[in-house]
Amino acid sequence: MDILTFTTQQHWTTWFAVYLFLGGMGAAVVAVSFLTHMYLREEKELVMWGALSGVAMMVVGSGMLFLHLLNKWAIFYIVSPYGVFHKPDSWIAWGSQFIVWIQIAAVLYALPYMVEKPRLLGWPVVGNVLKMPIVLQVAGVAKKIHPILGWVGIVTGIGTAVYTGLLLQSFPAVTLWHNPAVPILFTVSAFSTAMAWLLIVMYTFIYHRVDHSIRALYERIDLGLITAELIIVFSFFNFTLSGSEGGYRSAEMLWGSNGWLFGFVLFGLIVPLAMELKCVFGSWSGKAPIVTASLLVLNGGFQLRAYFMAAGIYAYPW
């Protein structure tokens, strides 16, 4: 009776880590760029990049989940707002609503700026769509309700990032996932990768069109987020070391893996933290160090989720 089998699962593998990574980061990108636009500076380029790249990430991430559904027609049960009233205790039902509404809010929020942007208007298909009278009317309405759209994007963005962790927390047989720190870790990681992505955008594509103070602020916030993530990761290490056999086996898998140690902890957290510290408070200047550090943070964000999925050890009673 008390013999236990410890094993990993084969249902949600690396593809699910892509969903968690892109979904969390995309949502946080939208939330961060909206907050910046609403309360710091009206950076039109940044909010367009944030909204559209965030939507693109969530489309790809959600697409990974959609492709793996056995019965794709049943998706209508969860994309309709009724879904969350029917199943308010399911985090996937909430997450689906967040992802739907954040994408609508993001596109509408960016639309008034898109219809004014000559480069976009010159694009073959996109330009023609943006010049359509109905689109111009929608853009006008969207401009009038900008604060509402902004807050829809911020709330659903934070909600989506938290949801990616709450989802894993819902699985009681896995010690690594079923604990209160998982949503916190995934939320911090989502916002850290969002900062990293927006820093890359601001240092490469729109360097001269964004005020330097925004970049400097993002660098400092990202420093805090990476530090918080390091603390949470090491508290996980301490938590899994004792208390349950499944947790201990997860710890053995993670901390015995070079990919986790070097790919995530060292080059996904510690090295970018040191590089950003040197950029913010030290002598490093120029674009290369911060872009490199941000790329490492993005890689670390994906590694975290991929290893978390792989190291979820189930304890079955036979």
């Binding site: 009776m1 013999i3 699962q9 249902h11 949600w12 989940l65 793996h68 559904l69 056995l70 019965n71 794709k72 049943a74 998706i75 049960y77 969860i78 879904g83 029917h86 199943k87 205790d89 399911s90 985090w91 996937i92 039902a93 689906s96 989802l167 819902s170 699985f171 009681p172 047989a173 189930y314 304890a315 079955y316 009673p317 036979w318």
Partner: protein, 199 residues
Amino acid sequence: MTHYAMVIDLATCVGCNACMAACSLENQTPVWADHWRTKVHDREVGDGHGITRRFIPRLCNHCDNPPCMTVCPSGATYKTKEGVVLVEVERCLGCGACAMACPYDARYPATSDDIDTGKEYYGKLQRKSPSMDKCSFCYHRLLKEGEPACVQTCVGYARMFGDLDQPNDPVTQLVRSGKARPLMAHLGTRPNVYYIPER
């Protein structure tokens, strides 16, 4: 009220797998993919001349607090008033969250390919669309006052089925006496499949 539960006596399970055969025919499960609604696991215990085989049949535990039902985003997984956890096939997305949430490994995917294969294997197939699948305690048989196919076919009478709301039901008495115990009770799932350990 009715509160269905099953008791499995591990001392009398001989590992004949008749329950697996009966269940697969009754419920047309995708056995070609090694997916069963009930499966008898076996394990060698001891060593040398003292080595023996032990069997533990497992199935959905029809928990009173089922994590698979909580995570289900569409409400496809639901509980009947008798405590049986069922899946509404047409409503199930097949996202797999229930399989991830189940601490008893009782969920598996029944895919479109399985439907095609099932038509050849079983002839007329009840299933029309893919979904996550699981044991239903043969609910269609319970409605006709029958019992699950695995219980009816068990040659060693290792499986017993009853109503926990009936004090004189042998299953109720085994559970109340503490002889039959649930698996992984510490997870708070309140399972309704109980096991009598080997003596």
